[in-house]
């Protein structure tokens, strides 16, 4: 059973791959009905699927493919010209084949789908036309064993059933097929010679639809003989050239097959995760390197360390790109289904539409390729239905009767752009606004203040449809809404340009990969957030008085525009413990055509971050797209720009109102209610201070450096009345400590007393700048220290 399953799996993978390419080929074939190569390719698919399915006992599938094969075989031998009507039947049968394959994939059996009707139609084509006397052109082909196959095919009711054959019969069948193949090649060679001859003999005749081999052969032939070439001479080299050429299709096939192995996607995902970890470790290493560099400036080993760090970071980046590439698929995989779709749609809508594909080789992450299909279907359907006009209208407007839809993909920086152009009637901004107002999607006022570009984005509003009538193709007003959500889910953006009567151009900008992105790190109070760089248009430094309030919202003037502002702290409920700075930074976020200014306290910088999910427990938190682990091992939340933009509308601005500083004054009832922190790195100095202050009975807390002092202060265990701070300390010196402390609103009035041996004027100045109110120079008398402290904490003399 297992073995069977294994074979079945292989069969399914192979079949789906083959079928995927088939649609495109078939539509191509309709345009070039004589393209032998295409026909052969399509025939081979049907044949392969038939062979394998009969081996696996999928009778229904075998039955169907067998009849398909008949029709295609005829066409391939020129007995049948593929007309659109025949193509409809062939396409229908291919759809059935797909459905069957899907059923097999899901149930391991091919029951439940009725193919009889389709088979009859196929038979009619192959049988009906088969009776028609074969054209003279194919005599050579018809002569050889072909009739055997033909007979078996036309009398198709009892099909060739490979697995019921005896070994001998099978042998014979193989022999026959081989023979057939050789004959095919021979015939092809013959055909090509004929074609070549024709081209040479009758140059003025327009080149046929399938010129590739003929042209290639024709040009080298005259080249060696520039003189008027007698036909027979020219024909000879052409024929000779033909020899290897004819063999090419069979030989080229294996050569064209790239050296590949199938790898389970799970393994790639795992690899991707590991790389993610490595990127985090790299970021951390770089950070440590910076720290070390700062501390041991000028040391010799630094250079070596630098080198190693830069090599590691270089290799990690390369490795990341390499692994990312393993997950990349050409977008052609998605594009492939569109020629068929356009064909069906244009027949259904009675329009003439050409699809021009471009950049099919552009590669995208597998997960994105899977997600991008649906939005594209919606957009293209929309273009066909609403964009491109009917042929008579087009002619009346002096346009080409056949409309063109262009679908191309290309790289732009760290993004992939998928562009969908049509030369249809374009979007009418005024009409879009009217419709939206009519449907109550926007207010009259909003409509008036809308630019054309903003009006175009109205088509993405849920419930919006410009089609007067709901057709089976579109007009239900769901499609474009889905497009927008899907694209935004991928961190992508949509850009629309349109001109009435000329056409519409839509650009989908999508990041290359979902797992690792470039982000701008911003700080607010003591927290940090990461904003995907793709949504950041620019950053501006502003002062408080550049912010205006209009109708309860903060706005600012950015060049010619008015930008609405929101404070990141209001969105993420950040507690305001730090003193507000006079200056702030505005990160201008852009999503499609809408813009928003996000006020932050600090800009930290740009960093490559690995997106991690917050897990089931915390999923769906509005405004948070995920989390990432930073170089220092901490977790930073990633801003969901899409959600943030919609949240910004409902957030009340509080950013600029000064926080009410609740002053908690504790009534002192005894000497030990007074608490002083002593910050000094020298144990001796701390003891001296302790000895000087202990007699008055106040509570003393010691810290051995600035960092420790800050931590004690922040922990809130004590309510300090004053701090004695040494200046020179490891980790964090006294000046820095003072500056840090003064950032907090509630410590604004905490007396900081410098106790130091630095006596220089500039030292004193620095002390004052950083917020120290007293300056005691070592050595000092115990009484002096005690009196300074008492004065600063308003020590009540009755406790003495």
């Amino acid at each position: 059973m297992d073995e069977f399953q294994e074979i079945l799996q292989d069969f399914l993978i192979e079949s789906f791959e083959l079928v995927e390419k088939l649609d495109e080929d078939l539509v191509e074939l309709e345009n070039n009905p004589e393209d032998l190569e295409l026909l052969n390719g399509i025939f081979r698919v049907a044949h392969t699927v038939k062979g394998a399915s009969s081996f696996l006992n999928f009778d229904v599938l075998t039955h169907l493919t067998h009849h398909m094969e008949d029709v295609l075989n005829k066409a391939r031998h020129g007995d049948l010209i593929i007309t659109p009507d025949i193509m409809d039947v062939v396409l229908e049968s291919i759809d059935l084949m797909k459905a069957l394959l899907e059923t097999i994939r899901d149930t391991s059996a091919d029951a439940g789908i009725d193919v009889a009707a389709c088979v009859v139609r196929l038979d009619k084509i192959s049988g009906g036309d088969g009776e028609v006397p074969a054209p003279a052109a194919v005599e050579a082909v018809e002569a050889t064993p072909e009739p055997v196959v033909e007979e078996a095919a036309v009398a198709a009711e009892d099909e060739v059933d490979y697995d019921s054959m005896s070994p001998d019969d099978l042998e014979a069948e193989i022999e026959k097929l081989l023979q057939e193949r050789q004959d095919e090649d021979k015939a092809k060679r013959q055909a090509k010679i004929d074609a070549g001859e024709e081209v040479l003999a009758a140059p003025p005749e327009p080149i046929e639809d399938e010129p590739a081999p003929a042209k290639a052969d024709a040009s080298p032939a005259p080249a060696p003989e520039p003189t008027p070439a007698p036909v027979p001479v020219a024909q000879a080299p052409a024929a000779k050239k033909e020899e290897p050429k004819a063999a090419a299709p069979t030989k080229r096939a294996p050569a064209a097959v790239e050296q590949t192995i199938r790898v389970d996607v799970k393994r790639l995902d795992h690899l991707m995760n590991l790389i993610g970890e490595l990127v985090l470790a790299k970021n951390r290493l770089i950070k440590i390197n910076d720290d070390v560099e700062e501390r041991y400036e000028g040391e010799e080993f630094l250079e070596e360390l630098n080198q190693v760090v830069s090599i590691v970071s270089l290799v990690t980046t390369d490795l990341q790109i390499a692994v990312m590439k393993t997950r990349m698929l050409p977008i052609g995989k998605v594009f492939n289904k569109f020629p068929r779709m356009i064909r069906d749609l244009s027949r259904e809508l009675n329009k003439k539409i050409d699809l021009v594909l471009g950049g099919e080789d552009t590669e995208l992450d597998k997960s994105i390729v899977e997600e991008i299909g649906d939005p594209l279907v919606h957009i293209i359907r929309n273009s066909c239905d609403h964009g491109v006009e009917t042929p008579d209208i087009r002619l009346a407007q002096g346009k080409n009767e056949t409309g063109t839809i262009g679908l191309k993909a290309y790289n732009e920086g760290n993004q992939i752009v998928i562009q969908i152009d049509d030369d249809g009637k374009g979007l009418d901004a005024v009409m879009l606004k009217d419709k939206s107002v009519e449907k109550g999607l926007i207010t009259e006022k909003e409509a008036d203040s809308m630019s054309d570009k903003e009006a175009f984005t109205l088509i993405f509003k849920p419930g919006f449809s410009t089609a007067a009538a709901v057709t089976s193709v579109s007009g239900r007003g769901v499609g474009m809404d889905v497009v927008k959500t899907n694209i935004e889910k991928l961190n992508g953006m949509i850009d629309i340009d349109s001109e009435i009567g000329v056409g519409t151009s839509m650009k989908l900008k999508i990041p290359l990969t979902l797992a690792i992105i470039q982000a701008l790190l911003v700080g607010v109070q003591e927290e940090y957030y990461a904003i995907p760089l793709a949504s950041v248009l620019e950053t501006v430094r502003i002062s408080k008085d550049e912010i205006y309030t209009v109708e309860g919202r903060s706005v600012m003037r950015l060049r010619e525009e008015v930008l609405s502002l929101v404070h990141i702290g209001d969105i993420f409920e950040v507690e305001r413990i730090l003193d507000a700075n006079e200056h702030a930074y505005v990160v201008v976020l852009g999503l499609g055509t809408s813009k928003l200014g996000l006020i932050v306290d600090t800009l930290v910088g740009q960093e490559e971050i690995v997106i991690k999910s917050l897990g089931d427990y915390l999923k769906g938190i509005e405004g948070v797209a995920g989390a990432t682990i930073r170089g220092d091992g901490g977790v930073t939340l990633i801003v969901d720009v899409v959600a943030l933009m919609s949240m910004a509308r409902d957030v009340k601005s509080t950013a600029l109102s000064e926080p009410s500083s609740a002053v908690v004054s504790h009534e002192k009832t005894k000497a030990s209610d007074y608490t002083i922190m002593i910050v000094d790195d020298s144990k001796t100095d701390r003891t001296i201070m302790r000895k000087a202050l202990e007699p008055i009975g106040i509570t003393l807390v010691e810290a051995s450096d600035g960092q420790e002092a800050l931590n004690i202060l922040k922990s809130g265990d004590y309510n300090f009345d004053a701090m004695l701070v040494d200046i020179e300390m490891p980790r964090m010196d006294g000046y820095t400590l003072a500056t840090e402390i003064k950032k907090y609103n509630k410590y604004k009035n905490l007396p900081l007393i410098a106790v130091t041996s630095r006596t220089g004027k500039s030292d004193r100045m620095r002390g004052v700048e950083s917020g120290m109110i007293e300056y005691i120079t070592k050595p000092y008398s115990a009484d002096y220290l005690s009196s300074v402290v008492q004065r600063n904490v308003n020590f009540k003399s009755e406790f003495l």
């Binding site: 991690k612 427990y617 938190i621 989390a627 091992g633 901490g634 977790v635 939340l637």
Partner: protein, 164 residues
């Protein structure tokens, strides 16, 4: 196969079965204190117990969800059991620990006041939750009776369930 051999094998099987039965009868728990109460959870639900370190606040969640922290590369939610149980929040001390619990794919860290010990309880010593708190939504699995005290055993899957 000789009869003797069969007998030996039979005996072995019996032995193993009784061993298993004995194991089945005993539940291993880890006890910890929140406020004044002692609680316990099955030892198998614990991924690890770690000393507290810094975490990142997450907006728009109930107060008992402190935020997320980095556990060797994984981002894990951190829940304060004190505030979840309606107690006053307390400063973390030297005895504070994060217990990382796992149930299926759900993982979260829980802040507890202090660990007590690993407890082995016989199944028959575990009673159902008191009627007043029983029902589908209770997070109490049962009450374990020990010589001198009783311990509330918590349902790990309920603890890990998002209830906001």
């Amino acid at each position: 196969m000789s009869d003797q051999l069969k007998e030996v094998i039979n005996q072995q099987n019996k032995q193993q079965n009784t061993d298993l039965n004995q194991l089945d009868d005993i539940v291993q728990l880890v006890g910890f204190v929140i406020g004044d109460e002692e609680y316990a959870i099955p030892i198998l639900a614990i991924q690890e117990i770690i000393k507290p370190f810094s975490w990142t606040r997450v907006p728009q969640v109930p107060a008992y969800v402190l935020g997320v922290f980095n556990l060797r590369g994984a981002v894990i939610p951190l829940i304060d059991l004190r505030s979840k149980f309606g107690l006053q929040t307390k400063k973390q001390s030297d005895e504070t620990r994060f217990i990382v619990m796992r149930h299926g794919d759900d993982v979260a860290g829980f802040v507890i006041d202090r660990l007590t010990m690993a407890i082995r309880l016989k199944k028959r010593d575990i009673g159902p939750a008191p009627d007043t708190v029983s029902g589908k939504d209770t997070i109490i699995e049962g009450v374990g009776k020990q010589a001198d005290k009783i311990i509330t055993i918590l349902k790990v899957n309920k603890l890990l369930e998002r209830d906001f």
